[in-house]
Protein backbone atom coordinates (compact mmCIF):
# COMPACT_ATOMS: atom_id res chain seq x y z
CA UNK A 1 0.00 0.00 0.00
CA UNK A 2 1.16 3.51 -0.77
CA UNK A 3 2.82 5.11 2.23
CA UNK A 4 2.89 8.93 2.28
CA UNK A 5 6.27 10.62 2.56
CA UNK A 6 7.22 12.41 5.72
CA UNK A 7 6.62 15.75 3.99
CA UNK A 8 3.14 14.64 3.04
CA UNK A 9 2.54 13.44 6.59
CA UNK A 10 3.56 16.86 7.91
CA UNK A 11 1.19 18.50 5.46
CA UNK A 12 -1.65 16.24 6.53
CA UNK A 13 -0.95 16.87 10.21
CA UNK A 14 -0.88 20.61 9.63
CA UNK A 15 -4.17 20.41 7.74
CA UNK A 16 -5.63 18.38 10.61
CA UNK A 17 -4.52 20.99 13.13
CA UNK A 18 -6.13 23.72 11.02
CA UNK A 19 -9.36 21.78 10.89
CA UNK A 20 -9.32 21.30 14.67
CA UNK A 21 -8.70 25.01 15.20
CA UNK A 22 -11.37 25.94 12.65
CA UNK A 23 -13.94 23.88 14.54
CA UNK A 24 -13.27 25.83 17.74
CA UNK A 25 -15.16 28.95 18.75
CA UNK A 26 -13.60 32.38 18.42
CA UNK A 27 -12.73 34.47 21.45
CA UNK A 28 -15.75 36.73 20.84
CA UNK A 29 -18.11 33.75 20.65
CA UNK A 30 -16.65 32.27 23.80
CA UNK A 31 -17.01 35.60 25.60
CA UNK A 32 -20.60 35.94 24.38
CA UNK A 33 -21.43 32.48 25.76
CA UNK A 34 -19.75 33.24 29.08
CA UNK A 35 -21.64 36.53 29.39
CA UNK A 36 -24.99 35.07 28.42
CA UNK A 37 -27.79 36.61 30.53
CA UNK A 38 -29.44 34.42 33.15
CA UNK A 39 -26.68 31.83 32.85
CA UNK A 40 -26.17 31.73 36.62
CA UNK A 41 -29.94 31.50 37.15
CA UNK A 42 -30.06 28.56 34.79
CA UNK A 43 -27.28 26.90 36.74
CA UNK A 44 -29.17 27.47 40.01
CA UNK A 45 -32.31 26.01 38.41
CA UNK A 46 -30.33 22.99 37.18
CA UNK A 47 -28.89 22.53 40.68
CA UNK A 48 -32.38 22.69 42.22
CA UNK A 49 -33.74 20.19 39.69
CA UNK A 50 -30.79 17.88 40.32
CA UNK A 51 -31.26 18.23 44.07
CA UNK A 52 -34.91 17.28 43.72
CA UNK A 53 -34.02 14.24 41.64
CA UNK A 54 -31.47 13.15 44.23
CA UNK A 55 -34.01 13.56 47.03
CA UNK A 56 -36.59 11.52 45.12
CA UNK A 57 -34.00 8.86 44.46
CA UNK A 58 -33.14 8.84 48.18
CA UNK A 59 -36.88 8.45 49.01
CA UNK A 60 -37.17 5.43 46.77
CA UNK A 61 -33.98 4.00 48.16
CA UNK A 62 -35.23 4.33 51.73
CA UNK A 63 -38.49 2.65 50.71
CA UNK A 64 -36.55 -0.21 49.18
CA UNK A 65 -34.44 -0.39 52.35
CA UNK A 66 -37.57 -0.63 54.54
CA UNK A 67 -39.04 -3.25 52.21
CA UNK A 68 -35.81 -5.19 52.41
CA UNK A 69 -36.03 -5.21 56.19
CA UNK A 70 -39.65 -6.40 56.03
CA UNK A 71 -38.78 -9.39 53.86
CA UNK A 72 -37.76 -11.75 56.75
CA UNK A 73 -40.94 -10.96 58.69
CA UNK A 74 -43.08 -11.56 55.61
CA UNK A 75 -41.24 -14.81 54.91
CA UNK A 76 -41.86 -15.96 58.49
CA UNK A 77 -45.59 -15.19 58.23
CA UNK A 78 -45.81 -17.01 54.89
CA UNK A 79 -44.05 -20.02 56.43
CA UNK A 80 -46.46 -20.04 59.38
CA UNK A 81 -49.48 -19.87 57.06
CA UNK A 82 -48.08 -22.70 54.96
CA UNK A 83 -47.48 -24.86 58.05
CA UNK A 84 -51.02 -24.19 59.33
CA UNK A 85 -52.50 -25.03 55.94
CA UNK A 86 -50.62 -28.33 55.74
CA UNK A 87 -51.46 -29.16 59.37
CA UNK A 88 -55.19 -28.46 58.88
CA UNK A 89 -55.24 -30.63 55.75
CA UNK A 90 -53.81 -33.64 57.58
CA UNK A 91 -55.57 -33.14 60.95
CA UNK A 92 -58.44 -35.68 61.88
CA UNK A 93 -61.81 -34.37 60.66
CA UNK A 94 -64.18 -36.46 62.96
CA UNK A 95 -65.50 -34.22 65.68
CA UNK A 96 -68.16 -34.91 68.35
CA UNK A 97 -71.20 -32.70 67.79
CA UNK A 98 -73.10 -31.60 70.87
CA UNK A 99 -76.94 -32.10 71.08
CA UNK A 100 -77.44 -28.43 70.49
CA UNK A 101 -75.44 -28.66 67.28
CA UNK A 102 -77.59 -31.55 66.09
CA UNK A 103 -80.75 -29.60 66.80
CA UNK A 104 -79.42 -26.78 64.69
CA UNK A 105 -78.20 -28.94 61.86
CA UNK A 106 -81.08 -31.39 61.56
CA UNK A 107 -84.69 -30.50 60.86
CA UNK A 108 -87.42 -31.13 63.48
CA UNK A 109 -88.09 -34.84 63.71
CA UNK A 110 -89.61 -37.34 66.10
CA UNK A 111 -86.62 -36.96 68.33
CA UNK A 112 -87.68 -33.40 69.07
CA UNK A 113 -91.18 -34.40 70.10
CA UNK A 114 -89.78 -37.07 72.32
CA UNK A 115 -87.54 -34.56 73.94
CA UNK A 116 -90.51 -32.20 74.51
CA UNK A 117 -92.70 -34.90 75.87
CA UNK A 118 -89.98 -36.62 77.86
CA UNK A 119 -91.14 -35.14 81.16
CA UNK A 120 -94.92 -35.91 80.79
CA UNK A 121 -97.03 -39.08 80.74
CA UNK A 122 -98.85 -38.24 77.46
CA UNK A 123 -98.37 -40.47 74.47
CA UNK A 124 -97.85 -39.28 70.95
CA UNK A 125 -101.46 -40.09 70.06
CA UNK A 126 -102.71 -37.91 72.93
CA UNK A 127 -100.70 -35.03 71.65
CA UNK A 128 -102.03 -35.49 68.11
CA UNK A 129 -105.59 -35.62 69.39
CA UNK A 130 -105.10 -32.42 71.31
CA UNK A 131 -103.76 -30.71 68.24
CA UNK A 132 -106.56 -32.00 66.00
CA UNK A 133 -109.18 -30.99 68.56
CA UNK A 134 -107.80 -27.50 68.82
CA UNK A 135 -107.86 -27.19 65.08
CA UNK A 136 -111.37 -28.51 65.04
CA UNK A 137 -112.37 -25.99 67.65
CA UNK A 138 -110.75 -23.21 65.69
CA UNK A 139 -112.45 -24.25 62.45
CA UNK A 140 -115.75 -24.58 64.19
CA UNK A 141 -115.71 -21.00 65.40
Amino acid sequence: MFKPSSKKIDELDEAGRRVLRAAAASLEETEAAASSPFLYRRIRAAIRADNQKREEATGWLSLIFVARRAVPAMALITLLVAVLTVWSAFAPTTTQNSPDDEALIEGPGPGVEQTVLAGSTMSQDDVINIVVDRDYGRNGR
Binding site: P4, I9, E11, L12, D13, A15, G16, R17, R18, V19, L20, R21, A22, A23, A24, A25, S26, E29, T30, E31, A32, A33, A34, S36, L39, Y40, R42, I43, R44, A46, I47, D50
Partner: protein, 192 residues
Protein backbone atom coordinates in the same frame (compact mmCIF):
# COMPACT_ATOMS: atom_id res chain seq x y z
CA UNK B 1 -5.39 45.83 53.51
CA UNK B 2 -6.25 42.24 54.27
CA UNK B 3 -9.91 42.90 55.08
CA UNK B 4 -10.48 44.10 51.48
CA UNK B 5 -8.51 41.29 49.86
CA UNK B 6 -10.44 38.99 47.56
CA UNK B 7 -11.13 35.65 49.20
CA UNK B 8 -9.21 32.78 47.66
CA UNK B 9 -10.97 30.04 45.73
CA UNK B 10 -10.43 27.65 48.61
CA UNK B 11 -12.13 30.02 51.05
CA UNK B 12 -15.06 30.42 48.66
CA UNK B 13 -15.31 26.66 48.18
CA UNK B 14 -15.42 26.14 51.94
CA UNK B 15 -18.16 28.78 52.25
CA UNK B 16 -20.13 27.27 49.35
CA UNK B 17 -19.91 23.81 50.91
CA UNK B 18 -21.27 25.36 54.11
CA UNK B 19 -24.30 26.58 52.13
CA UNK B 20 -23.26 30.09 51.15
CA UNK B 21 -24.85 30.60 47.72
CA UNK B 22 -23.07 33.94 47.27
CA UNK B 23 -19.71 32.20 47.54
CA UNK B 24 -20.65 29.80 44.76
CA UNK B 25 -21.81 32.70 42.62
CA UNK B 26 -18.43 34.37 43.16
CA UNK B 27 -16.68 31.20 42.03
CA UNK B 28 -18.90 31.19 38.96
CA UNK B 29 -18.10 34.83 38.16
CA UNK B 30 -14.40 34.17 38.61
CA UNK B 31 -14.15 31.05 36.44
CA UNK B 32 -16.96 31.15 33.90
CA UNK B 33 -14.69 32.53 31.15
CA UNK B 34 -12.15 29.79 31.72
CA UNK B 35 -14.87 27.13 31.43
CA UNK B 36 -16.28 28.83 28.32
CA UNK B 37 -12.80 28.81 26.74
CA UNK B 38 -12.51 25.06 27.39
CA UNK B 39 -15.96 24.48 25.89
CA UNK B 40 -15.10 26.72 22.95
CA UNK B 41 -12.14 24.49 22.02
CA UNK B 42 -14.55 21.67 21.23
CA UNK B 43 -17.74 23.44 20.17
CA UNK B 44 -18.31 26.51 18.08
CA UNK B 45 -22.00 27.16 18.69
CA UNK B 46 -22.84 29.51 21.51
CA UNK B 47 -25.65 27.27 22.81
CA UNK B 48 -23.28 24.33 23.05
CA UNK B 49 -20.73 26.38 24.98
CA UNK B 50 -23.44 27.65 27.34
CA UNK B 51 -24.51 24.05 27.92
CA UNK B 52 -20.93 23.13 28.80
CA UNK B 53 -20.73 26.04 31.28
CA UNK B 54 -24.04 25.03 32.85
CA UNK B 55 -23.14 21.33 33.10
CA UNK B 56 -19.66 22.06 34.44
CA UNK B 57 -20.83 24.36 37.24
CA UNK B 58 -23.73 22.09 38.15
CA UNK B 59 -21.40 19.10 38.43
CA UNK B 60 -18.84 21.19 40.29
CA UNK B 61 -21.50 22.27 42.80
CA UNK B 62 -22.33 18.70 43.72
CA UNK B 63 -18.67 17.70 43.86
CA UNK B 64 -17.44 20.70 45.89
CA UNK B 65 -17.10 18.59 49.03
CA UNK B 66 -14.59 16.35 47.21
CA UNK B 67 -12.33 19.29 46.34
CA UNK B 68 -9.25 19.63 48.55
CA UNK B 69 -7.12 22.45 47.17
CA UNK B 70 -3.46 22.55 47.94
CA UNK B 71 -2.29 25.57 45.96
CA UNK B 72 -3.98 28.64 44.39
CA UNK B 73 -4.31 27.08 40.89
CA UNK B 74 -5.94 23.92 42.23
CA UNK B 75 -9.55 25.00 41.83
CA UNK B 76 -8.99 26.18 38.28
CA UNK B 77 -7.36 22.87 37.34
CA UNK B 78 -10.10 20.93 39.13
CA UNK B 79 -12.81 22.87 37.33
CA UNK B 80 -11.04 22.47 33.96
CA UNK B 81 -11.02 18.72 34.54
CA UNK B 82 -14.80 18.81 35.09
CA UNK B 83 -15.30 21.00 32.00
CA UNK B 84 -13.19 18.69 29.81
CA UNK B 85 -15.24 15.72 31.03
CA UNK B 86 -18.45 17.59 30.20
CA UNK B 87 -17.11 18.24 26.69
CA UNK B 88 -16.20 14.56 26.34
CA UNK B 89 -19.73 13.53 27.43
CA UNK B 90 -21.21 15.99 24.95
CA UNK B 91 -19.01 14.62 22.13
CA UNK B 92 -20.15 11.09 22.93
CA UNK B 93 -23.78 12.18 22.95
CA UNK B 94 -23.28 13.76 19.54
CA UNK B 95 -21.79 10.53 18.22
CA UNK B 96 -24.88 8.68 19.41
CA UNK B 97 -27.11 11.17 17.59
CA UNK B 98 -25.51 11.45 14.17
CA UNK B 99 -28.43 13.50 12.84
CA UNK B 100 -27.00 16.42 14.83
CA UNK B 101 -23.67 16.08 13.25
CA UNK B 102 -23.83 16.94 10.18
CA UNK B 103 -24.08 14.53 7.38
CA UNK B 104 -21.50 13.93 4.73
CA UNK B 105 -19.27 16.37 2.90
CA UNK B 106 -20.64 17.01 -0.56
CA UNK B 107 -18.54 17.07 -3.69
CA UNK B 108 -18.67 20.86 -4.04
CA UNK B 109 -17.80 21.28 -0.37
CA UNK B 110 -14.88 18.90 -0.78
CA UNK B 111 -13.41 21.02 -3.60
CA UNK B 112 -14.01 24.17 -1.61
CA UNK B 113 -12.40 22.62 1.42
CA UNK B 114 -9.33 21.48 -0.53
CA UNK B 115 -8.94 25.02 -1.87
CA UNK B 116 -9.29 26.44 1.62
CA UNK B 117 -6.60 24.13 2.93
CA UNK B 118 -4.21 25.35 0.26
CA UNK B 119 -4.97 29.04 0.77
CA UNK B 120 -5.81 30.07 4.32
CA UNK B 121 -9.15 31.90 4.72
CA UNK B 122 -8.87 35.61 5.32
CA UNK B 123 -12.36 36.98 5.76
CA UNK B 124 -14.93 36.03 8.36
CA UNK B 125 -17.42 34.62 5.85
CA UNK B 126 -14.92 32.14 4.41
CA UNK B 127 -13.83 31.26 7.90
CA UNK B 128 -17.41 30.37 8.84
CA UNK B 129 -17.70 28.12 5.80
CA UNK B 130 -14.49 26.33 6.68
CA UNK B 131 -15.70 25.88 10.24
CA UNK B 132 -18.86 24.23 9.00
CA UNK B 133 -16.76 21.85 6.93
CA UNK B 134 -14.33 21.31 9.76
CA UNK B 135 -17.15 20.32 12.09
CA UNK B 136 -18.43 17.87 9.47
CA UNK B 137 -15.02 16.29 9.08
CA UNK B 138 -14.35 16.05 12.79
CA UNK B 139 -17.70 14.36 13.31
CA UNK B 140 -16.03 11.30 11.75
CA UNK B 141 -13.61 11.04 14.66
CA UNK B 142 -14.56 9.18 17.82
CA UNK B 143 -15.08 11.20 20.98
CA UNK B 144 -11.78 9.88 22.37
CA UNK B 145 -9.86 10.87 19.24
CA UNK B 146 -11.45 14.29 19.14
CA UNK B 147 -10.75 14.86 22.82
CA UNK B 148 -7.09 13.95 22.72
CA UNK B 149 -6.35 15.82 19.48
CA UNK B 150 -8.14 18.97 20.62
CA UNK B 151 -6.32 18.96 23.94
CA UNK B 152 -2.96 18.42 22.20
CA UNK B 153 -3.28 20.68 19.16
CA UNK B 154 -5.76 23.37 20.17
CA UNK B 155 -5.50 23.60 23.94
CA UNK B 156 -1.75 22.93 23.85
CA UNK B 157 -1.72 20.44 26.70
CA UNK B 158 1.18 18.06 27.23
CA UNK B 159 0.62 14.30 27.36
CA UNK B 160 1.01 14.40 31.14
CA UNK B 161 -1.57 17.18 31.45
CA UNK B 162 -4.02 15.25 29.29
CA UNK B 163 -3.48 12.17 31.43
CA UNK B 164 -4.16 14.29 34.49
CA UNK B 165 -7.33 15.86 33.09
CA UNK B 166 -8.82 12.68 31.64
CA UNK B 167 -7.65 10.26 34.35
CA UNK B 168 -6.13 8.13 31.59
CA UNK B 169 -2.65 6.65 31.90
CA UNK B 170 0.18 8.39 30.03
CA UNK B 171 0.63 5.37 27.78
CA UNK B 172 -3.08 5.36 26.94
CA UNK B 173 -2.89 9.04 26.00
CA UNK B 174 0.12 8.38 23.76
CA UNK B 175 -1.50 5.41 22.02
CA UNK B 176 -4.79 7.25 21.63
CA UNK B 177 -3.03 10.35 20.26
CA UNK B 178 -1.08 8.24 17.75
CA UNK B 179 -4.22 6.46 16.50
CA UNK B 180 -6.26 9.66 16.44
CA UNK B 181 -3.64 11.44 14.39
CA UNK B 182 -3.47 8.56 11.93
CA UNK B 183 -7.25 8.62 11.63
CA UNK B 184 -7.33 12.37 11.03
CA UNK B 185 -4.55 11.99 8.45
CA UNK B 186 -6.64 9.45 6.55
CA UNK B 187 -9.57 11.88 6.55
CA UNK B 188 -7.37 14.77 5.36
CA UNK B 189 -5.78 12.65 2.64
CA UNK B 190 -9.03 12.72 0.67
CA UNK B 191 -8.79 16.48 0.31
CA UNK B 192 -5.08 17.07 -0.14
Amino acid sequence: MDSFAEPTDDVLVAAAVAGDEGAFEQLFERHRRQVARTGGRFFAQREQIEEIIQDSFTKAYFALHTYHGTHPASFKAWLTQIAVNCCYDQLRRMRRRPEQGLGDVEESEAHEFAAQLRSPPKDVETELVSRDLAVKLLARLSADDRLVLTLLDVEGFSVAEIADVTNWSISKVKVRAHRARAHLRRIMQRYL
